[in-house]
Symmetry: C2
Subunit: 151 residues, 2 copies
């Protein structure tokens, strides 16, 4: 799957969910393969609505069984790391959070991940659309368990 194909497929899922994007947002959908080149299995499609010094909001689109690999958000400049709430809008996600049992989230369900806590997640059979509400995103500072990953 090329980046352009992934962007088109993510856009179709967002349209079907009734989520309206501007044309600029559609063009700028981020395709993250984490440097592994296996987007079908490990990757995310991301719409960033806003990312200020204090607040960030995104839509995450996952294709069926696509996975976001394990990582954590460390403290930065003496402040706690990124805090994330994932709210599933469509489809289903299985969330793995260090120190807890696996969490299954369906539409309208959500979970808040504390800063600096290892987590990963993958979509179910129909993929998923997940709203992320968080503090500032600084993707380059994320720490992944798999050392081959480049964000």
């Amino acid at each position: 799957m090329t980046e352009a194909e992934a962007r088109e497929r993510a856009t179709a899922m967002l349209v079907e969910a009734g989520i309206v994007l501007t044309s600029k947002e559609r063009e700028n959908i981020e395709i993250a393969d984490f440097g592994l080149g296996r987007l079908d299995e490990i990757g995310l499609q991301i719409v960033v609505y806003v990312n200020t010094d204090r607040v960030c909001a995104k839509e995450l689109v996952l294709f069926p069984h696509q996975r976001c690999p394990e990582h954590r958000h460390p403290p930065v400049d003496g402040r706690p790391g990124k805090e994330e709430t994932f709210r599933v809008r469509r489809g289903a996600v299985r969330l793995h959070v260090d120190g807890t049992d696996d969490i299954e989230l369906g539409p309208g369900e959500q979970y808040t991940i504390p800063p600096n806590t290892l987590h990963s997640f993958e979509a179910g059979d129909d993929g998923a659309i997940v709203s992320e509400f968080s503090t500032t995103s600084r993707d380059a500072l994320d720490i992944f368990t798999d050392p081959r990953i480049v964000r």
Copy 2:
């Protein structure tokens, strides 16, 4: 319009927009009339998804021509006041922000309001659904221009 009627009407608008809520969220939709008893004109229907010490996310439902009255979010405990991004999902909103020309937002359009800046907004002919992404909400600390308002 009673609170129960407002809740039912807001729920119908959210369903039509494809926004999935849990039954508990539907029951807990906040009906804010700002103590004025004129909900048709001045009010908001609010779904709070999350409100931690750092991040808050809500859906705001506005009925046709309903208005959120002018207010600002002052600094708290030496930290800047609440920063809000409004993203229109359905309908249209006219946003009044101190020091700028009026801003018209339609579906997929958004605007970020700096802390401590006077603002108000009202929905167009079809009402509106607006996602709010912000720092912590402390509604009781908001400062309204109309001294009769109780939040």
